[in-house]
Point group: C3
Chain length 301, copies 3
């Protein structure tokens, strides 16, 4: 049971106004729409068309909503608490993170294999059957099971590496000899991952060739993505599942890249750019633009 | 050595008619076309153009074929047994499964790490170096090596999870704040996988946000696929390798989805729909239709 | 410290001419361009437009370059050694491999699980938490951590399997019955991987149905690729990240396939063909041609 007053306090900068009396009220859980009950913290996204109706009909007694939902006679009669916030979805995410998400257990699982010179603070979680090379990991970072981290990787604080990810593997850039044989280009660089980064399940971040591959603070890279050698991602880049970024490409901060995109090597994607699902990006993309298609072209919003 | 009479009995509903005397006859193995010998159970797919010729020329003495292959004088003279079936490829698959496929060993491999409250019947196989959370697994299901299953997953009976797959990981849906920072949306739901499902190697099934991600009975999802949070797959969906289905999409039963397709979030794919290789699906697809391309469009067969 | 005379000797067939006196000179490391110092072996790719300028300005004393870079008065005055080679990038790769790449430690990591009948010479490296079935591995091959190898796989000499790869898994080709249920086609074949092959992280090579899947000598297959059942790759095929090759496709020797390509089942790709990034290949591609797009079409260079 979580006190509604405490909950409001925890998201204070997001709150516009509270209607009804939160004192002595509690919520118990978050629920999908079909299972909302009296103990649920319900929420109404800003994008819904029938927000007032939802607020009136919800079985929940405490509701996150935006400023367009009115505290009507009907809602008063139901003794509901309306918490008006700037972004109900964001507020819900913050509350879920603070009160409901289970954090992995700190410490190194006995089945994990860890290089004796790896630097791992006691607040770090290393899951079952991980293989951790000579790397540096920051405070409060979680490595889920079956992850492989090669030598020469550094990861910041409060980051999360989901199960099965591989960090610091060689890329396979090659030179072809006249007889057709392939000679692999050197991979002597490392990987630097910032603070508050998340790398999804079965993802792969390759080490740099001579310098490092860099993932900026706050990036969230979904599962099954590939970030090739020497890519540099600015802070707060969001990448959906199954996207591939070829070698030496730079992604500006706050870029948003949807699922199963592929970006050519040595491209530059500007700050705040958006790339649609399934795009094949062969060119540089200027800051703030939205591109889509195969090959990708600028689209006007 | 397998008695041909026993073999015919095992696929009885598929058999149209048997020519020649199967009594006292045996087969030893299945072989690729270039290695067929007298001990092979040979088969002739319905799609071949020269079926009669193949039946006459095969070195095998026992042949699965359809009703268009005749029991000629020449075949009689070679003392061959013809087993006419509705679908020779299906009949072969049933026989291979019954007599030739090696099943993983039951029990939990000593190197696997299993949550003490996981519910795992003794008929289940858990492979080497798996990491198994608090989950429920049905009778006769096989988990191959290096699989990770998070807490909150249920898997039905006779299902197979191939090596390296990750079931129940967080998706990384995020809300972006005005300053660009990303806040991860909650992932408190689970994953429900039905009976007779197969998940391919290095695949990823994300947990739901508030409700569950659901994979219906009999689905076969090939390797390297991603099924994102809150997807719901009806029964008997077949998905080829490297396909990605974004969040909250519904796939109707008996749908057929080829390799490296990506489907946008919150779409609905109708029962029995077919999606061609490499398609980028941005719209809903009605039942029974075939779509292809980037972006995908309906194609007339 | 590496003697420059020894280094030149090691790449002798690549050397056109050496200017300056390499006797008694040493290099210490390779460095990214921004960190080049007096101890660096610097290199100038043939593709650069200002090669002479770079050679004059480099802080390095020993430089790999092509025959168009002149041994000028200025370079003499700086006491530099110019090593003219046919392909500076190739020469650098050969030197990196010989002197700078760290090889995985030989032997079987104690956390790996290995089938008692697997044939593994003492020069092989098996990483932490691998699961190795009944397979045959050649001399000097390295298997990185968390790799799964199924029964029935053979791997040649000096090959490398990067972390998280799965070799020999079942494909999931199925026959659909009239009631919609899916029956998996048999996977009784194996996988044959040649000498000097590299398979990237989290890649997947499926076993053959009745015969084997074959990866020829010298192939380099980057991370997150899928090679489906019964594919046959000739020697020295290079495949970039996240590419998928569906079942029974043949790839000719020296083919070059870029990132996130998908190739339909049962296609034939000719020797030396090139396929551009993100292509959806539905047709056969003749030898030596370059194709690109969705669906892929021939492009004139």
């Amino acid at each position: 049971m979580i006190a509604v007053t405490e909950l409001i306090e925890s998201i204070k900068p997001e709150v516009i106004q509270v209607f009804g009396n939160p004192e002595g009220r509690f919520i118990k859980h978050l629920q999908p729409v079909e299972s909302v009950d009296e103990d649920t913290l319900d929420w109404i996204t800003r994008l819904k068309t029938n927000k007032q109706f939802v607020a009136e009909q919800s079985r929940a007694k405490v509701i996150l909503c935006d400023e367009t939902v009115a505290y009507t006679e009907g809602i008063v009669a139901q003794d509901k608490v309306l918490i008006q916030v700037y972004n109900p979805k964001l507020a819900l995410a913050l509350i879920a993170d603070a009160y409901f998400e289970k954090k992995p257990q700190q410490g190194i699982h006995p089945t994990a294999s860890v290089h004796p010179e790896a630097e791992i603070p006691s607040t770090v979680s290393i899951g079952a059957n991980c293989a951790i090379g000579r790397c540096v990991i920051g405070e409060w970072t979680s490595i889920l099971p079956n992850v492989t981290i090669y030598d020469g990787v550094s990861i910041g604080r409060r980051s999360v590496i989901q199960a099965g990810a591989v960090i610091g593997t060689d890329g396979l850039g090659c030179e072809r000899r006249d007889d057709g044989t392939l000679v692999k280009f050197p991979h002597l660089g490392g990987v630097e991952i910032g603070d508050d980064v998340e790398i999804g399940a079965n993802g792969m971040i390759a080490r740099g060739s001579l310098s490092n591959t860099i993932i900026g603070n706050g990036c969230k890279i979904n599962g099954n993505c590939v970030i090739a050698h020497n890519c540099i991602l600015g802070k707060n880049v969001w990448i959906s599942v199954s996207t591939t970024i070829a070698g030496s490409t730079k992604i500006g901060e706050n870029a948003t890249i949807f699922s199963q995109v592929v970006i050519r090597e040595q491209r530059t994607i500007g700050n705040g750019a958006t790339i649609g699902m399934g795009s094949v990006v062969t060119k540089d993309i200027p800051a703030g633009e939205t591109w889509f298609g195969s090959p990708a072209r600028k689209i006007e919003k």
